[in-house]
């Protein structure tokens, strides 16, 4: 049975806690669905590349069309929440 968005949210939080454990950011609360990568976790653009690799390697164990998540109407999105990524992964898994 494919994983749900909530399942992916938990997996992403685990991944992101490890991902950012020694980063210099001010976010102090527990990560949640609405935690944003750029605004809350101090992501820079290069970090997105590394996160996509980590999701493919450790969460999906496969590649996925991340352009559908990262681009809207021909432009790159400004920020992403954990929930948005989880929703995207759930759609891919169901897909």
């Amino acid at each position: 049975m494919p994983l749900s968005s909530d399942d992916y949210t938990q997996k992403l939080i685990t991944l992101l806690e490890d991902f950012t454990q020694d980063w210099d950011h001010d976010y102090r609360g527990a990560m949640q669905r609405d935690t944003r990568l750029f605004a809350d976790l101090a992501f820079e653009s290069i970090d997105i590349i590394q996160l996509v690799v980590a999701i493919q390697e450790e969460v999906l164990r496969a590649k996925a069309p991340f352009e559908k998540l990262l681009m809207r109407e021909g432009r790159y999105v400004d920020d992403l929440s954990i929930g948005q990524i989880a929703d995207f992964l759930a759609v891919q898994a169901a897909g």
């Binding site: 290069i46 590349i49 980590a54 493919q56 069309p65 790159y76």
Partner: protein, 533 residues
């Protein structure tokens, strides 16, 4: 016991090394240990990949195959979807060949590979240590293999600082830009502690883990040569140097003096039984002019620039190192400065932008003629001295990823893709650029004091290292072990042998299975490096 020590020196060239290993008036001998190694060993020029560039060239060193086979051509990989071109960075998963670290591990040899590009993510089952190069500090821990190695390094190496050691994209980008005098000196100084950090990691692993094959790459050589070439090439040194010239020369010599010290300590640690090899991915020379290739292609009607509405985003996009074009009206263009190549846009289906497939040959011949016709407005000399067709220079399973045409400029420089005129302009001062001929050297037991021998190819490095480690050379390697690097006694006692073909990695097999039917490539970049909106 460490049998093979491989020290990579990114961009190292005999033009500089020969100076550093002899007494110079007023400067003395900068690299006495390297001098002693060169006197006791063998060396050759090493011909790089057709576009002598870090990612394809180091990948050839690590795979024994050319870019057409291993599939890595540039820092940046582009997917042309007709209406739009998407950009992504190459990583280890794009290497479509088994790397020697994996081959050695599979054959029961322990291995450590430090600071080589495109080694992350590491092969999962690799028995050994990989600390990848070209990875930002924030991601070094997760990309170090095995993961616990990073903690060992962090806890046990006094003064270890990943921020000093790791790739900083903003700083690296400066390598291709013109810097002020002050910034140039800072640029060179920035690499002094970086190399010290990599040396400490190498020393730690060599001392504690004693891998059978130890490999470390120092890349400051390339980085400082880009910006400090006028103070490194003896032919360009001023007869009456300014204070800044003296400062630059001094800091360059300090870099090479330090490097000599690191090499001495590593060679000593490896022990007298180890065979020691050095290689660079390409050489270096002076670039004296700029070719704005897309501006020239625009003049000739092959491309049209994207609309610039004057917004901050548009300005930033246009100033980036990714071609920003009106894709509907572009038939040939250069994607990135580092590619030094031209892509021809062929319509995938009727109505798509680009030329018709049936017109490809005639279009390409006309384009080649236009490229070779370009002359330096000052000297009248040709700007482009050779145009390489991909089927001739990048044969293999990934030939179609190569540029349709690769350019060789008169000064070996990299093109600019900026929307500026004139198309050809002299540089105010020479900067360093990649030359096709790098270095390949060896010293140790079983290696003759033969001095300079005949030219070797970059794909010969991997088989030479495997031979040194006592392994056969895979049958599908394109290169061969450099027999001139070994004594007749060694070759008689242990002749080089051909072995089984390389293997496809586990990860790749999984990826292909799960990718079946998926047509679109992943677009991984978001506002990459601040270049893309």
């Amino acid at each position: 016991m460490t049998t093979t020590l491989f020290i990579g020196l990114d961009g190292c060239t005999y033009t500089v090394l020969d100076q550093m290993t002899r007494e110079l008036p007023g400067e003395g001998l900068t690299m006495p240990f390297m001098k002693s190694l060169m006197e006791r060993g063998v060396r050759a020029k090493l011909r790089s990949t057709p576009n002598p560039l870090t990612p394809p060239a180091w990948t050839s060193i690590m795979t024994g195959k050319g870019p057409g086979e291993h599939g890595v051509f540039d820092f940046i990989r582009a997917e042309d979807h007709g209406g739009e071109v998407y950009w992504t960075l190459y990583d280890a998963r794009d290497i479509d060949s088994e790397i020697i670290w994996a081959i050695l591990s599979r054959k029961g040899k322990s291995v450590a590979a430090l600071n080589f590009p495109l080694t992350a993510p590491a092969p999962e089952d690799l028995k050994g240590s990989i600390v990848p190069g070209f990875i930002p500090a924030k991601h070094l821990r997760r990309n170090t293999h095995p993961r616990e190695l990073f903690e060992r390094i962090k806890q046990q190496i006094p003064g270890f600082d990943p921020k000093e050691l790791a790739w900083d994209f903003d700083k690296e980008k400066q390598a291709m830009e013109s810097l002020s005098a002050d910034e140039t000196a800072k640029w060179v100084r920035y690499h002094l502690p970086r190399e010290e950090q990599w040396f400490k990691v190498a020393e730690f692993i060599l001392k504690n883990d004693r891998p059978d094959v130890m490999a470390v790459m120092f890349d400051g050589t390339d980085k400082i040569q880009h910006q400090a070439w006028p103070w490194l090439d003896a032919a360009l040194l001023k007869a009456e140097p300014t204070e800044h010239d003296r400062e630059m020369r001094a800091v360059c010599l300090e870099y090479f003096r330090n490097l000599d010290g690191y090499i001495e300590k590593l060679v000593t640690l490896a022990g007298p039984e180890a065979q020691v090899f050095f290689a660079s991915d390409h050489g270096f020379t002076a670039s004296t002019f700029v070719l704005r290739i897309n501006a020239y292609l625009a003049e000739k009607g092959y491309l049209k620039w994207a609309e610039n509405d004057g917004s901050e985003q548009a300005i930033r996009r246009e100033a980036s190192d990714f071609a920003n074009l009106d894709w509907a009206q572009t038939t040939a263009y250069c994607r990135t400065p580092s590619s030094n190549g031209i892509h021809i846009r062929v319509a995938a289906k009727p109505g798509d932008p680009g030329i018709q497939p049936k017109d490809y040959e005639s279009f390409r011949e006309r384009l080649i003629a236009d490229l070779l016709a370009l002359r330096d407005p000052d000297s009248g000399e040709p700007v482009i001295v050779d145009v390489l067709k991909r089927e001739d220079w990048f044969p293999g399973q990934h030939m179609n990823r190569a540029c349709d045409l690769t350019l060789v400029l008169r000064d070996h420089g990299f093109v600019s893709i900026r929307n500026l005129t004139p198309a050809v302009a002299q540089r105010p001062q020479a900067i360093g650029t990649h030359h096709p001929d790098g270095i390949f050297m060896a010293v140790g037991p079983g290696i003759p004091a033969a001095g300079m021998v005949g030219l070797r190819q970059i794909v010969d490095v991997a088989p030479t290292l495997l031979y040194s480690a006592g392994l056969p050379v895979p049958a599908d390697f394109e290169g061969a072990a450099a027999e001139s690097f070994f004594t007749a006694e060694q070759l008689t006692a242990r002749p080089p042998k051909k072995g089984a073909r390389t293997r496809v990695t586990e990860r790749r097999q999984l990826g292909q299975e799960m990718d079946a039917g998926e047509k679109k490539q992943i677009i991984e970049q978001l506002q990459m490096l601040g270049y893309m909106e």
